[in-house]
Subunit: 280 residues, 2 copies
């Protein structure tokens, strides 16, 4: 009997973590484990407590005939601070400076463990905001978009600077590239985003803010609503980029390619994120 | 006391699932949960059974002073067949046919739940083969690479058709694009892959096989070892592409853009994959 409950708890933990933001009717578990409804209800009480205690997220119960449980992944402020500090330390190496004042970050966005942390941070930022899709610009925004999409359990769409034949019809906008001041074009497959979608835009790097404003225009073209924008590293110097709906995890405070010297600080993430659901 | 074990089991399930392929010394859990070593050993026995029963993967115990447990994610043959059939059905819609005989698949590789399944399938294929990195070609291979990397807990590297200034020095090879018979160039940042790495190459689509052979050459240039190649959809007609180290999840058997008609079958995945560890 004890073994059966243990097996259920492990299986339900796995199931819920793989189905975030989905309403799971409790009869699914009762059937899956040949268990009484009352046993499953007890399991859920244990899981709720254990999920918060282990900093996994929170489980909400919707009562009634159409009810069930919904798992929302998220971390508390202490863990968020810990993750941000780890990213800050990784990114602070002056050897990352590339010609033109860019930073080498392919190792960070190619690291599965770090990507989980980035995704969980951004998913915590937008927890419960019921977005329909994540949007990003190819290429380096993709891993971040995918990780956030994983935790929010919504699709993500990839905006391209040039479209491919395998995309079908596209919608495009022009934007001013902040780093080069050129007018460029970005486009998105018409099939990939429904009209009126609530969209979260993410990217790895924000320099002039042109890519971000391009994504904002594209969301408008799809008659969508922009829930917010999150970037891993903000290196913009213009104050005009700071007063928008942009969440920044990290912030380049000083960069000198000659020395080389690099100072990376925390962005506005901790100020703009509500952790109240995840504090246990 | 019962609550404490439950909380540990949930937390350890979460911990192990987020740290696949890492040796976790048991004192980590004893310290984290203020529990006796004997209790943690009992927990592990329960978890081993529950992980297999719930089709999560297997937990191996390494005894001795430097020992601990290692979690290997993977699914059994029944679940793999179920996942492949679901993907096959999704991809069989003739409306997916785009000009040039390509298939629209952005919705599939933008769907977090389907990507988990694709990643878990490919990770099961290479379970225990100790690869060092996943390699893919931008753009649509990236989501698949990331999902596989997530389960194998190794980094992934992105080969580009044109390199960007933010990549640093690159190594490049030429390859013949099978679809257009043109000679093209692909390149990879020198920083992104250590010499001698064991590499798994993945891609979304294989048509002429040119991209795949380009990745093979690139692995050679890095003095690496190619563990294997996995593609989501194989639409190559030449037999010469079939006898290599390529695992295919799905196979385009018939495509007629005029009608339109499309038949997608299962690839060689089930024939080449060893499920023995995951059968419980």
């Amino acid at each position: 009997m004890k073994i059966r409950r243990s097996e259920r708890l492990v299986g339900m933990t796995h199931y819920l973590e793989n189905q975030p933001y989905r309403l799971i009717p409790l009869p699914i578990f009762a059937k899956k484990y040949h268990a009484a409804k009352s046993s499953i209800s007890e399991d859920i009480t244990i899981l709720k407590h254990a999920f918060l205690a282990n900093n996994i997220g929170y489980i909400e119960t919707l009562p009634g005939a159409g009810g069930g449980v919904i798992f929302t992944p998220g971390i508390n402020q202490e863990t968020a601070t810990h993750y941000l500090t780890e990213l800050q330390q990784k990114l602070s190496d002056p050897q990352r400076i590339l010609p033109g004042g860019y930073l080498y970050s392919s190792d960070i966005i190619g690291d599965a463990t770090l990507l989980r942390k980035i995704g969980l941070l951004i998913a915590t930022r937008y927890a419960g905001q019921k977005a329909d899709a994540i949007m990003t610009v190819a290429t380096k925004g993709i891993p971040i978009a995918q990780s956030v999409a994983y935790y929010l359990n919504i699709p993500y769409v990839i905006v391209r600077r040039e479209s491919k034949v395998t995309e079908g019809p596209t919608l495009s906008v022009n934007y001013e590239s902040g780093s080069s001041s050129r007018v460029e074009k970005m486009e998105l497959s018409k099939r990939s985003l429904p009209q009126g979608a609530k969209v979260i835009a993410v990217d790895d790097f924000m320099k002039g803010g042109g890519t971000v404003s391009g994504m904002r225009n594209l969301v408008q073209e799809f008659a969508g609503e922009l829930v917010g924008i999150s970037v891993l590293v903000d290196s913009s110097t213009q104050q005009s980029n700071k007063d928008t709906n942009v969440t920044t995890l990290l912030n380049v405070q000083h960069l000198d390619a000659k020395v080389p010297a690099l100072t990376v600080g925390l962005g506005n993430y901790l100020q703009v994120t509500d952790f109240s659901h995840f504090n246990g």
